[in-house]
Every structure is written in structure tokens, then in C-alpha cells.
Symmetry: C2
Subunit: 337 residues, 2 copies
């Protein structure tokens, strides 16, 4: 492994990504708002009120997959990064880096899908940019979106704010996005059809905020999957997290594909799921609110936050054995989002 160059694992969302972010970006850009572990930055405006601001680039391959495409992904991913900070997403930017020779019909299909996802989420794409590079200087199309939302007074949702006594709620089945994209890429076919979960989560997040005035943490487990997300929250909040394996929702199709391919759904990217930490007392009403939202029908309480073992995540399997969940170390699957 060459230590002087960027590796695919630096983009994994796991351990190597954290090294790059903390060792390079945070070191140079360092400012109080650039918290490496948050999905969006939240800042106060001179005239009052708070704004959330986030960005992501999308390099998924292939462009089109069951349940979505790079366009839908680019809108939902940024909407979701705002939503899990407790913000109401309002406006998106869209930056396109296009390889010369891209079919205009593909571009149009992708742009139409972005427009449709934006309408579904109730956001507007208000500014953009297009760069075209020579053949072989990009792989078809990369999209960057940034997003701006407003944060209501009193809302303080952060990976640094989970507290002992919180219930850990996941909004639905895990692994659907990653397994779908991987199976497309390798032309694998399974008996049960796979479908990406890519979807905007702002209405689901709002329903959680409406059901509890003490939502402590939310996050969408994208690159690195649930395990990495929980580890980030445990580290960011200096708390321990205990989860119970059989409570974690996984579809039969994903479970089967994971067994066949030797994948662990705990580390697979999701694009339409979130994890929420709310006080135990609020958990029943939050769960009910989530389950009545189309994006949270399979929501489940999968564990609890504890004052024990701060910074560590434990998972208990059906045999009662407990093991430590670490962050994803590197990346087996580049370009999943």
C-alpha cells in the first residue's frame, strides 16, 4: 500500500476517510463550524435564525439502477444530510462534471429524475454549473449538490448530542441501496428483486421532530453503513451504544444476497434510511410517527445508548454473544453513491 497517494479507501466513509478528513482537511480548514462528524454545518445568521449547509458529490456507477439513478441520489443525499441535522431543506445547487460524449438522452433522464426528486422533497434547485472534460477525464458524469435549509428554534440534533437513556431507532431495512448497486454492477440476479431505498427523508425527519421535543441525534447511514454511523455517534457523543442483532430490519432479499456474497449489511450504504436517538420515554410516540410515514413503515427500536463503554458500539447476537462493532476500515465497494 503506497502511503503517499490517495487510495480508494480514502473515499469509503470509514476509517481511512476519517484519517484524511482529520489529518488534512480539518487541519488546514479548521474552524469551529467544520465538525468532521456532522452531516451538515449549522450556523447562526447575523439577522437571526440558523441555517444548515451541506454538500456531497455523487459518482455512483452505473447511473441507473432499480429504484433510482445518480440524479435521484444527488438530490436525496443532500436533502437527507440537511434533514438529519433537524433542518428543513429549502434550496439545492447542482454542479455537473460531464465527460465529453455523454449521451444527451442519458443526461436528460438524469436531470428529469433530479427534478422529480426535488419536487418529491419540496426543494428547489436554484443554481448550478456545468463543466465538460475530455474523453477519459471522467467516467460519464459526476454530480455535486449542496443544500441550504433552516433550523427551527430549539432544535439541536447532532452526532455529539446522544445521551445515555436514549433509544436507538432505525427507520427501516438495511443494505438495500448497496446490494442493489453491487448486483447491477456485477450483473447478478437474485430470486427476490432488489431495489435501492434512495428517497428524501425530510418529511420523516420532520415527523420525528414533531413527535419529540428532545430528538438528540439523527444520521443517515450511507457510506460505511449502520455500524460506522453508530460508531461515529458513540465517539462524537462520548457514549456507549448497545444494539440487538435480531431487532435490525433486513429484507429477505438483502439477507440472501449478503449470505451469498459474503457481505455484512451492517456496513452497507443506505440512501433512504436514518437512525434517531431520542429519550426512551419519547420512543413509543416517535416510533408510531415514523411508522405512519411511508419512509418509516419498518422502523424499529434496535438498542439503547448507555453511559457504559463510551465511544464503543456493542451488538448482541441471538445466542447472547456480544461483539464490538468497529468503523468500516477501508472500502470494498467504491462508487456506491
Amino acid at each position: 500500500m503506497d502511503e503517499n497517494v490517495v487510495l480508494l479507501g480514502h473515499g469509503s466513509g470509514g476509517g481511512l476517510s476519517h484519517e484524511l478528513i482529520e489529518g488534512l482537511f480539518v487541519r488546514h480548514f479548521g474552524n469551529p463550524l467544520l465538525l468532521p462528524l456532522e452531516d451538515a454545518s449549522v450556523f447562526a445568521l447575523p439577522q437571526g435564525g440558523r441555517i444548515a449547509f451541506t454538500t456531497d458529490s455523487y459518482v455512483v456507477k452505473p447511473f441507473f439502477f432499480p429504484g433510482g439513478d445518480i440524479g435521484r441520489l444527488s438530490v436525496c443525499g443532500t436533502v437527507n444530510d440537511l434533514s438529519v441535522r433537524g433542518a428543513r431543506p429549502l434550496y439545492l445547487s447542482a454542479g455537473f462534471i460531464i465527460e465529453e460524449g455523454l449521451l444527451l438522452s442519458d443526461l436528460e433522464r438524469i436531470v428529469a429524475s433530479m427534478a422529480s426528486a426535488a419536487a418529491e422533497a419540496g426543494v428547489s434547485i436554484v443554481c448550478g454549473d456545468t463543466k465538460v472534460v475530455e474523453r477519459r477525464a471522467a467516467d460519464g458524469l459526476y454530480i455535486n449538490t449542496a443544500g441550504v435549509g433552516i433550523v427551527a428554534e430549539g432544535v439541536n440534533v447532532s452526532v455529539r448530542n446522544a445521551r445515555p437513556g436514549d433509544a436507538v431507532i432505525v427507520s427501516g431495512t438495511l443494505g438495500d441501496h448497496a446490494v442493489t448497486v453491487l448486483s447491477q454492477r456485477q450483473s447478478l440476479h437474485f430470486r427476490s428483486p432488489l431495489r435501492s431505498d434512495v428517497a428524501p427523508l425530510n418529511s420523516l425527519a420532520q415527523s420525528i421532530l414533531d413527535a419529540s421535543s428532545s430528538v438528540h441525534a439523527m444520521r443517515d447511514p450511507t457510506r460505511g453503513g449502520l455500524a460506522t454511523t453508530l460508531k461515529e455517534i458513540a465517539a462524537g457523543s462520548s457514549v456507549g451504544i448497545d444494539i440487538v442483532e435480531e431487532r435490525i430490519p433486513v429484507s429477505d432479499a438483502v439477507r440472501g444476497a449478503c449470505e451469498m456474497l459474503g457481505l455484512d449489511y451492517l456496513y452497507l450504504a443506505n440512501e433512504g434510511k436514518l437512525v434517531a436517538m431520542v429519550p426512551d420515554s419519547d420512543a413509543p410516540s416517535v416510533l408510531e410517527a415514523m411508522r405512519s410515514n411511508v419512509r418509516g413503515r419498518d422502523a424499529a427500536i434496535i438498542g439503547h445508548v448507555t453511559a457504559d463503554h463510551p465511544g464503543m458500539v456493542y451488538i448482541r447476537n441471538p445466542f447472547g454473544t456480544r461483539r464490538i462493532l468497529e468503523m468500516l476500515a477501508s472500502d470494498q465497494f467504491p462508487r456506491i453513491c
Copy 2:
């Protein structure tokens, strides 16, 4: 020319870019805020006040050139797009798409340059994202930045707001960025050293706003150059523009390089210049304010806005001949920014 695929010219900032923007992006994303001709979108917040929001991707080749690099460019370009809308830039996002194998030392040099440009402009980089793609799926590194700024009450700077009787002021010499990058790329050496003008213009733009309460239009003439920018303002504001060739500041080095290479500085990208339209009566004080700013020392009044020939830009040469300036049609020089 294949009409079914994206061409390099679609990223030129000229005529083909406008076709793509209007025929595809605006058609699908269409909303009142997505004005194709503005450098940044300005919107009111529910709690009061106005925000400006913009994005650009940077694909310049090579990464490093005299006077700057892709990192400095990525900060200044977005700061400037906010500044020419009359906004005070506050926060930037940074999205990196990296080709596996990029030297970490190059990445660090670029990130340090971004940090330094951000400090110079007084903005903070508050959120970011890193994606790594396989070898040959990108050309080293692409950077996207988005930016958020606040617009003071009463400020209404827009390419739709130039008015007959306005003076047309350019902040300094033209063509420096494009000629520098092109000469690096082709390993050309000229007697007079060339140097990109890439710089943040927020303090210059603020000095213009401080000197006149009626700044009608500002724009930074990047891709497509001064000619394309003036044509966009003429079209956006339904006014005519008359400029005088010998009043346009151009360095001897750029003039020489243009003659040798057959380039027209009117169409070359600048990364540290702006054009401003202010009422004739305010022009002397605006010019004085600009000249006392390090970024506007060579500022000059190069022409006037007229009610004649709306949508058209005329240039008069030293022999008194007048010709029409059209928008840049396609792109001779991809990856200039």
C-alpha cells in the same frame, strides 16, 4: 458534430452552454430563482433577510500555474460569484472528487492553498465531502465549492438591472488567467512573465457598493470572457452596450501572447476581475474607490449602457470602426477553470 452527445463546447460558458442550460436544466428544474444568467441565486429567508447561494466545479489543468492553483481558484471563483451579486460571502462547502493515486503532497498543497485563499477572503469552509474514483475515472482532482452569503437591504445587483446611462467599468487587465494556464499547458514561454489574476473580489465589490448606492450590475468575466459577460448583461437587461477598445486594460504580456497565438482577450477567462455598471454620476467615485483597492488598481471606464440596440454589444476600435460583439460560440480551451 454529433448532436446527441455532450460536447466540450457545452462547458464553454458561451453559446452552447446557454443552449444546454436553457434547453435542459432550466426546462426541468424551472423555478423563479433559477435565473440562468445570474452568478448566484438570491432568496429571502422566512425569518427575514436575504441569502445568496452559488456553486461551481473546478477542473483546471494543470493544477498549479503561476499566480495560483486549482485550490485557490475553487475558493476565489465561488467568493466572486457571491460578491458580484452584492452579497457578503460567509461560508463555503468543498467537495473533492479524487482519482486514486493522486499524490497526497499535491492534495495537501492544494488544500493549504484553499485555506489561504479562504483566509484572504475572510470566509470559512464549513462542510465538505470526498469521493475517490478508480484510476482513469477522473484526471487527478476535481473540486466543487458552493457558497453562501448575505445580501444587505437595498442591494439589488443583477445582470437584469443594467440601465441606459450607466458607465461600464472593468476592474483591471483582461486575459491574464487564461493566457497563463494555456501557456503552462503548452509549455510556452514569453519574455514578459505571465501570471493568473485569480483572487477574491469581495473587498473590491464591497468598496463599489460603499461608493454608490445604485450599483446596478456586476459580473466576473470568467469563461467566455468580457465579450460574453457584456452580451449576457445586454440581453438580461434589454439594453445596448457600447465599449471603446483602446480603453480596455490589457497587459503587454497578454497582448503579445494573444498576437502570437491568435487569441482575442475579449473572450479569455479572468479569475480576479469584475465588470460593474453604475450610474454615470457615481462613476468617478466608484472608479476612485476601485483604484484604491489592490484588486482594482487598473480599473477603467470602458464604455456606456445605452437604450439603443437593446441586447447588442458594440465595440469601437481606434480607427472609429464599430463591430458587434457576439457571445463565445464554443470552446477552444476546455479546463481553463
